[in-house]
């Protein structure tokens, strides 16, 4: 079947430091030849070896649009099993859009949402679990997330899940055989064996779920809110963080800096900052945005950074904020350590259990400690994904939770003294939930959801 050539921005348009435009189809090489120029101007990409990466420029009307890296991959060893060209550019909405437009002008058409994966499916390239890992690659916003998704593609999660499934199925089979042939097989004493199996299975799943939280944070970044009274140094802190690492700073289209979201790469930790500091000229931030709004924002956040001015005394507003963040992951920054202190660490320690860090945004001290604290809070100090197995996909995580619930129901049935045939009902549910992760069980909603998840090239 002949297919046309499609292209889309594969990285999402919002906040990535590097954006990637993917082209797939028979014309992919022809398209890139028309718009690519190497540094010396002598390379023709369609003549280069497959699976190589090339530095150069995207050109339109003899004008350089951006400096890029171009990866070329020939069918069939590609994601879609078609010829694929991937253009990595510097990000930023304007440039990325411009390159895509150029690609489209030169022979490709805009991909429909999820079309690459659809093609990968249709060309028999991937099973469901791998397709979703690819989805994670697409939305992966830093290198760690990318590593994680790649690992999933290689099927490590699959192995763990397969192993769990096999163990569960074995117990179901045992119960069922005994029910089917009660005169030949007995379930006497089986409860004890099952109980120990369940314990182990629950442990493994709980571990996967725990790690999936890290996985999500690595992929999506830590949703961070900076709060504090005016002049506490919120905006300076933000500027410092941005300025110091200068990794990724992107505005969201159509917004002004007043209600701003920033994405900051703090040495590999992605902070997705909701910047209440943006409202700069108001007298009292808490009054202005209202306690309710503050609650809403902080409730949604993974991390609250509360900036205090150590040179002014605590007041009622501080009490409100402290209560607000009581149940959250939060870090208190005692700013202006360079000035005479009116609020001391000891005083604050009586009021909160959250980590306290003395900083001077102005003097750039304490920022490293902040970074280390975040690291410890979210990654138990470690930010490596070398050998661990992570679930990064939300659907996978939900399925894990379901299987965990089912296994716990089995335990409940056992404790309630239910007959063994009731165990297998929930064991089977657990088995099926795990099956969803590796695509062994198809639900009508599943395919819809997968394709819906690929919100690219809209």
């Amino acid at each position: 079947m002949k297919t046309d050539t499609i292209a889309a921005i594969a990285t999402g348009l919002s906040n990535a430091g590097i954006s990637m435009i993917r082209i797939s189809g028979e014309e992919a090489f022809a398209v890139i030849d028309r718009i690519y120029r190497s540094k010396k101007g002598d390379k023709i990409l369609s003549k280069e070896r497959s699976h190589t990466i090339h530095y150069g420029y995207i050109i339109e009307d003899d004008q350089v649009i951006d400096e890029v890296m171009v990866a070329i991959m020939r069918a069939p060893s590609t994601y879609t099993r078609e010829d694929i060209v991937e253009i990595d550019c510097h990000g930023g909405i304007v440039v990325t859009r411009k390159i895509l437009e150029t690609v489209l002008k030169n022979g490709a058409r805009l991909a429909e949402p999820g079309e690459f994966t659809k093609r990968a499916f249709l060309n028999g390239r991937i099973d469901l679990s791998q397709a979703e890992a690819v989805s994670d690659i697409i939305s992966a916003k830093n290198e760690l997330a990318l590593k994680n998704s790649v690992k999933q593609l290689r099927g490590k999660v699959r192995e763990v899940i397969l192993d769990l499934r096999e163990k569960i199925l074995r117990d179901i089979a045992f119960i069922e055989a005994a029910l089917d042939d009660p005169e030949h097989m007995t379930l006497d004493g089986f409860d004890q064996a099952l109980d120990s199996h369940l314990k182990e299975e629950i442990r493994v799943i709980e571990q996967l779920i725990k790690e999936s939280q890290n996985g999500r944070i690595i992929k999506e970044g830590i949703k961070t809110v900076i709060v504090g009274k005016p002049n506490a140094g919120k905006s300076s802190l933000l500027n410092t963080l941005v300025g110091e690492d200068r990794a990724i700073v992107t505005d969201i289209a159509g917004t002004t800096r007043d209600t701003l979201e920033e994405t900051i790469n703090l040495n590999g930790i992605l902070l997705h900052v909701i910047d209440t500091a943006g409202i700069r000229d108001t007298a009292d931030i808490i009054e202005k945005i209202g306690v309710e709004k503050a609650i809403r924002i902080t409730e949604d956040a993974d991390l609250v950074i509360y900036v205090l001015d150590s040179s002014t005394e605590l007041d009622q507003n501080d009490e409100v904020i402290l209560e607000l963040i009581n149940e959250k992951k939060a870090i208190l920054l005692l700013n202006k350590s360079d000035l005479p202190a009116k609020v001391t660490m000891d005083e604050l320690r009586k009021k909160t259990n959250h980590p306290l860090i003395s900083v001077s945004v102005k003097e750039h001290t304490g920022i490293e400690e902040l970074e280390q604290t975040i690291r410890e809070m979210f990654f138990q100090g470690e930010l490596t994904l070398q050998e661990d197995i992570y679930i990064t996909n939300e659907r996978h995580r939900v399925a894990l939770m379901q299987s965990l619930d089912s296994l716990k129901l089995v335990k409940q049935s056992m404790e309630a003294g239910m007959p063994e045939d009731f165990y297998s009902i929930d064991l089977m549910s657990a088995y099926e939930s795990l099956g969803k992760i590796i695509g062994e069980n198809v639900e009508e909603d599943l395919v819809n959801m997968i394709f819906k998840e690929f919100c690219m090239g809209k």
């Binding site: 079947m1 659809k118 499916f121 249709l122 060309n123 028999g124 099973d127 469901l128 179901i172 069922e176 029910l179 089917d180 042939d181 009660p182 005169e183 030949h184 309630a416 003294g417 239910m418 007959p419 063994e420 045939d421 009731f422 297998s424 009902i425 929930d426 089977m428 549910s429 695509g439 062994e440 069980n441 198809v442 639900e443 009508e444 599943l446 395919v447 997968i450 394709f451």
Partner: protein, 631 residues
């Protein structure tokens, strides 16, 4: 010379358990029905085990009865021992099993058939299925008589090209030396029907007088017998029951088998048919489970009319002299006289994937089939299919939609769906684990699930239907009352709870909540339930189960909802799988051959992967989109 004889609406070929149900259903639905049997003396014969029911099979019998079939009533008439299996387990796996008096069972069924209006019995062998343009026109017998008809139901059991084998001895007969049907297979092949060859086996029958029962454990029937049929009154079942006996094989038995395994036609390769894994011959058990020191052997009476005893667990196709040695190695059978040898039987059957869920052949309109001919095994599986095939043959002629039960409605639904959807490579046997919604498909509620359907079809009379409605209402009313009735922490209540080791009440609760406690039940709460009205045992049973297992039942109902979503996603009849891009070749071939009615069914076809289903769903979405756009 052929000649045209009388014409009928429905002709049923074979009067085994499937054929009897098919013929009765058709005749009871007022269609002129003819039932062919190879011998009038082998109607509803039980050529193997002398019992009806057992785990999951008991469910089937209950469902047959709920729909208006005959098997349940017939075993209630003729049982000689009855037992509810798995009573220590949950209600979903309770299964009724009764030992039958084989001759009485056969006679009683024959009497029913002979006295059913619109039904004619005829001894003879059907040799040809007559069609015109892929549509049934009639059948022809060995004598050349042509019987025109509108629909045919094939229930030929194990008779097609049957061969009975033990050792080097081969008889070209059906079971029990009855004449095999040797012509029909060719006629079916000419119609383009794909045939399989399966095998099964039966153990020896031994003279009761030669058995030393003192070396065996006696197995009694239940004191309180539960009937199979919802129409049988419990008090009518009070009769003296006979016992079965349990003994074991031993190392000596196994040694004899190992020494002689080379003489087994199975191991020597003389038997080509595929046998069932779940009821292996004794030589299979010994060879495949070498570490097992002994195997159970149940000695069961064949009936009150005879001294023959059925040796359950020791079917075999070893030569006669070896059979003597192995049976006589078993404690209690040292002096056994074998009345009938054990044998394996090979027979032709069809690949059931050629059938629709209505049990009609996809490629021959008006041709239906049921029973072992469809690749199943067991009397109950056969009867269930016979009933559905008979009903649907009749409904086709009456111009009505076929009766198709889905997997969430009945074991019969599971059975037929498995047969017509999943590739069967061995005789198919029902098991409770095959029913994913078994908590809903209990043997105790078969009437509540299916009798309404039986009534709508026309196999259940008004009186029985009204009784069902009354039962339904009583159950609902009583459950509501129990959910609403509040019980306080009165002294009387606490004392009652204490007497059953149930924790005392801190605050008031409902009767329903108390019933949910594992150690309590509806019956036990009687002293503190002041407003209780007298209700039948059957109603109380349902109330108890529904309240006690409420949480589990709700969860299964939720699963059923999910299942129905895929089941309701229909595939257009005119779909051309060649147009579906990127289906794997195997899946494309399977779908093309099988032509599933809906996505649910498609997803259950072996060889069709989830990815194929995704591809198919993508295609259907696209197809719907473009078709809608054209309109």
């Amino acid at each position: 010379m052929s000649y045209i004889y009388e014409s009928y609406d429905v002709i049923v070929v074979g009067a085994g358990h499937a054929g009897c149900e098919a013929a009765l259903a058709s005749a009871r639905l007022s269609l002129k029905t003819l039932l062919f049997t190879i011998s009038m003396d082998s109607i509803a014969m039980m050529p193997c085990n002398p019992n009806i029911g057992g785990t999951s099979k008991g469910h089937l019998v209950r469902e047959i009865d709920a729909l208006g079939g005959e098997m349940g009533k017939n075993i209630d008439r003729t049982f000689i021992q009855s037992k509810m299996l798995n009573v220590s387990k949950g209600p979903a796996v309770h299964s009724l099993r009764a030992q039958a008096d084989k001759q009485e069972y056969s006679k009683a069924m024959r009497k029913v058939l002979e006295n059913t209006e619109n039904l004619t019995l005829k001894q003879g062998e059907v040799t040809q299925i007559l069609t015109e343009g892929n549509k049934i026109t009639g059948v022809m017998t060995y004598s050349g008589a042509i019987y025109p008809c509108k629909a045919v139901v094939l229930c030929t059991g194990t008779y097609l090209n049957a061969r009975c084998i033990y050792g080097e001895t081969v008889n070209a007969t059906g079971p029990n030396g009855l004449q095999a049907a040797t012509h029909l297979t060719d006629s079916l092949k000419n119609l383009g029907i794909e045939m399989y060859r399966f095998k099964t086996g039966t153990p020896a029958r031994i003279d009761k007088r030669s058995i030393d029962f003192s070396k065996m454990e006696e197995q009694f029937g239940d004191e309180k017998v539960v009937p199979f049929s919802f129409t049988t009154k419990r008090e009518d079942l009070n009769k003296e029951q006979v016992s079965c006996w349990l003994t074991y094989t031993n190392e000596k038995t196994h040694e004899i088998i190992r020494e002689n395994i080379g003489r087994s036609p199975l191991y020597a390769g003389d038997i080509k048919g595929v046998g069932p894994r779940y009821c292996p011959s004794i030589e299979d058990k010994v060879m495949k489970f070498a570490d097992k020191e002994r195997h159970q052997v149940f000695i069961e009476p064949e009936g009150l009319y005879t001294n023959e005893m059925y040796i359950a667990g020791m079917s075999s196709s070893l030569p006669e002299d070896v059979q003597y040695q192995i049976y006589r190695s078993v404690p209690g059978l040292e002096n056994a006289n074998i009345v009938r040898n054990a044998y394996a039987i090979e027979y032709d059957c069809i690949n059931p994937m050629q059938l629709t869920p209505a049990l009609e052949f996809k490629q021959v309109e008006g041709l239906f089939s049921g029973g072992q001919f469809n690749g199943s095994s067991g009397y109950e599986e056969a009867a269930a299919q016979g009933l559905i095939a008979g009903i649907n043959a009749a409904r086709k002629i009456l111009g009505k939609e076929p009766l198709i039960l889905d997997r969430s409605e009945a074991y019969i639904g599971v059975l037929i769906d498995d047969l017509v959807t999943k590739e069967t490579h061995e005789p198919y046997r029902m098991m409770t684990s095959r029913a994913e919604y078994r908590l809903l498909l209990r043997q105790d509620n078969a009437d509540l699930r299916l009798t309404k359907k039986g009534y709508e079809i026309g196999l259940i009379d008004e009186e029985r239907y009204q009784k069902l409605l009354k039962k339904e209402a009583e159950i609902a009313e009583e459950m509501q009352r129990l959910e609403r009735t509040v019980i306080g922490a009165a002294k009387e209540v606490q004392q009652l709870l204490q007497s059953y080791d149930s924790s005392p009440l801190n605050t008031a609760t409902t009767l329903a909540e108390l019933i949910r406690r594992p150690e309590l039940s509806y019956e036990l709460l009687e002293p503190i339930d002041k407003e209780r009205k007298p209700l039948s045992e059957e109603v109380i049973e349902q109330v108890n189960i529904n309240i006690k297992y409420d949480g589990y039942i709700k969860r299964q109902l939720h699963q059923v909802e999910q299942f129905k979503k895929l089941e309701n996603k229909l595939i257009p009849e005119d779909i051309d799988y060649k147009d579906v891009p990127s289906l794997r070749i195997e899946a494309r071939q399977k779908l093309e051959k099988f032509r599933p009615l809906n996505i649910g069914q498609a997803s259950r076809i072996s060889g069709v992967s989830p990815a194929d289903i995704s591809v198919l769903m993508v295609y259907l979405t696209q197809l719907n989109y473009t078709r809608n756009k054209k309109v």
